[in-house]
Amino acid sequence: MTDIRYIVRSEWIKLWSVRSTWWCLGAAAVVVPVFGALAASAVDPVEAAALPKAWLAEDGFDPLEPLTAVLLAQFVFGVLGVLTVTSEYSTGQIHSSLLAVPQRRRLLTVKLAVLTAVVAAVATVLVFGTFFLTQALHPDGLGIGLAEGGAWKVLLGCIAYLLFITVFGFAVGAAVRGTGSGITLFMAVAFLAMSALPAVFPSTLRDQAVRYTFVGLAESLTTLQPDPRPGMPAAALFLAAYAALALAPAMLLAERRDN
């Protein structure tokens, strides 16, 4: 059995020695703060001052609104997840990897763990950084602190969602193994299928169904507004279930598929 520390080290080098990692994380590091800042600076100070803060009323001014820029970045995190696996299979590099680590499920698991840890660190810096940046940009007196109204929960929710979408991308990549097919399938499920999904439900349930799509759950995780949507812990559980479901085929078949 190959020592896990060795595999971690190898996966760490693997992740940082290809340009796509730098491109994806670099893009996220630009998109999130820039769009967050744009959203924050678009707030009309007079109008905003007249509205109650978000968690007090449904149609209030939401000082956390600029954080939705995080959802713009879900794209690149998902693609990073896909590429982390497919770049290895589609190039054939996997042969070298499997010779060193014949335990395929272990290799895949460590790869996922390293990616998740890196994304967690990057997302934390981005989300907290963007929060402080946008609060500073808000008109006087409208910015809030981390503790105010449980704002920190929203920040954690943003990080959790980015982690989810990375894992989901990884799962899709591990299942199909090709870069083109992986990215296509990821986009198709995460964006197309998820927006189409509610339509298969009877109209009475449609509104309900929307809340359980990726985007619906992302909203639950990233807002404090009172709503009939699932709460944060429930949303996190649902996303965890989606991730587990997506990972299942690749993980279960890992030892049986040829390479």
């Binding site: 020695s17 010779l99 060193a100 014949p102």
Partner: protein, 302 residues
Amino acid sequence: MIEVSDLVKRYGRATAVDGLTFTVRPGRVTGFLGPNGAGKSTTMRLILGLERASEGRVLIDGRPLRELDRPITRVGALLDASRVHSGRTARDHLRVIAAANGVGDRRVDACLELAGLAAVAGRRIRGFSLGMRQRLGIAAALLGDPGVLLFDEPANGLDAEGVQWVRTLMRDLAAEGRTVFVSSHLMAEMQNTADHLIVIGRGRLLADAPIGDLMATASLGIRVPEAKTGTAVGLLAQAGGDVTVDGGDLLVKGLDAARAGELLLKGGIPIVHLAERRSSLEEAYLELTGEAVEYRALEGQS
């Protein structure tokens, strides 16, 4: 040592490897020979655990690959040199593999040096020629300083100097007591490199013998007056010879020159010409695989 027993690999209804059993021993270069499509690469992938065998098993130094601790320190392989992430630098490519089994960066640099790639270590593989990739693949195989080495067509894409380098390297590795298993579809490559040959065709074992034995498969070229041909054939065949006739020329297998000469002399047949033809390895190979190749061609027609 590599021990392959009753190995079978089926893809749907096609059988790529059909019950192979052989042992590759240390201290010599073992050539793995067969025409394209004979199942050499599949067998190598099966040995390395990259594909699952339908039946049979493979042991490396007496144990299944999966049970080896730090496998690259036991077995190294060059399969398809193009199977690398070409966006990485040569050095990073090797570091990734080395790190996975706790092999340090110093060894990475030593292998780059050995493969003649030290000068381009920091360059992305994308810009490498086929020959450079081949060298990189060989460097990767040597990273863990393994006792068992597999090379699938290592001379591919190398220039004359590179081919010489690979040949010397393989001989040296075997001389150090390692197990060296090298595939090729070209006889000529084997003639100067291998000590022992394993020949397969259509996934089946055709020969497993020292290279000398395969080269010694002798035949005789005999010329007799054309009128006597029939009698000569009868005599030689009766004595157990396998005779092919082409005008007055006879090609005889299964008899040595002394015996054939004696037979003809006794039969009162003048011998115009008699020569011992040591079939070259190439001929021996074609002889061995001939049937297998023919069968493939027939299969293709139907």
